[in-house]
Symmetry: C2
Amino acid sequence: MSPKQAAKSQKAQFQKTEIRLSGSGGQGLILAGLILAEAAAIYEGKNAVQTQSYGPEARGGASKSEVIISNTEILYPKTTRLDYLLALNQESCDKYAHDLKEDGLLLADSDAVEHVPPIKVISLPLVRTARDKVGRIMTTNIVSLGALVGLSQVISVASLEKAVLSRVPKGTEELNLSALKYGLELAEEGKKYLEE
Amino acid sequence: MSPKQAAKSQKAQFQKTEIRLSGSGGQGLILAGLILAEAAAIYEGKNAVQTQSYGPEARGGASKSEVIISNTEILYPKTTRLDYLLALNQESCDKYAHDLKEDGLLLADSDAVEHVPPIKVISLPLVRTARDKVGRIMTTNIVSLGALVGLSQVISVASLEKAVLSRVPKGTEELNLSALKYGLELAEEGKKYLEE
């Protein structure tokens, strides 16, 4: 096993993973956070805390949703240093990238986020995939979840699918499963950049 | 102004209110928490944090959702001592009543919660009102929100209405406004007991 693989293997036995999903109001990030937390907690037997904090920026149209996933009880429900940050717009990237751990991963929308800091970043066309491939821009949140879970493997795809199906509006199940699939495909593309 | 009125007036300028909504999965308490937080933050200019914590009890079918509302920035997002606890079943009441402040209020479903501790309690037929008066048991969450806001006045009814309308599934707006109205009426009934 290479050192890199050993590190990965160790990561698979993580104690705690902190994730922030950020972008604009209306992008469904709160629902995405709920789905991620419920996938981890209800379908995967982990502990999870999911939080929305609303301040002046919420009234300005920004949206953020946080999820902490852990194998043990979560005593402090606020994120401290992020393992993963999803940024669907430039403002979110600028505001939150410094909250990432040193080896944390920024997953950015490649069209909306033009300037990224010199950290571990994967830029993927999340919004564009939702709009052009899934055919509904409102599935950006599920495309993004698929990409995030594909990259992080913080939960299994099977758990994520179950949580998506239990939470999305009736009649949109197929659409959202399609969005999930496209998100996972994007993650596979993204991984190639990480491994380079 | 009587000491009681003075206390009430002071309470109207509260700095921080901590609320927990508890019951069973499927009762819509997470949505209710979101609505309450967004009413406070987006429509009322306050700060709010809304949290779901999922542990083993979530896999057992219990559900809880927390909201902290404050005039100032919320630095610690976990509830410490509750001002209000909604308990829609006995288990939730038993588990969480001791988290209330000394003068905190327990709002309990009068059918589902048969045994209440000797604290400030208002028992109201929340589930029954949703089922029999609104005509849809799935509106229990909104009836409960109406009752809670009517009793606590932590946010205005106008803000609550706006947040309900922005969050409930399309086509259920009238139903949920009706649920809200019934909840507010229950609060008026409940207040009489408190003032006695």
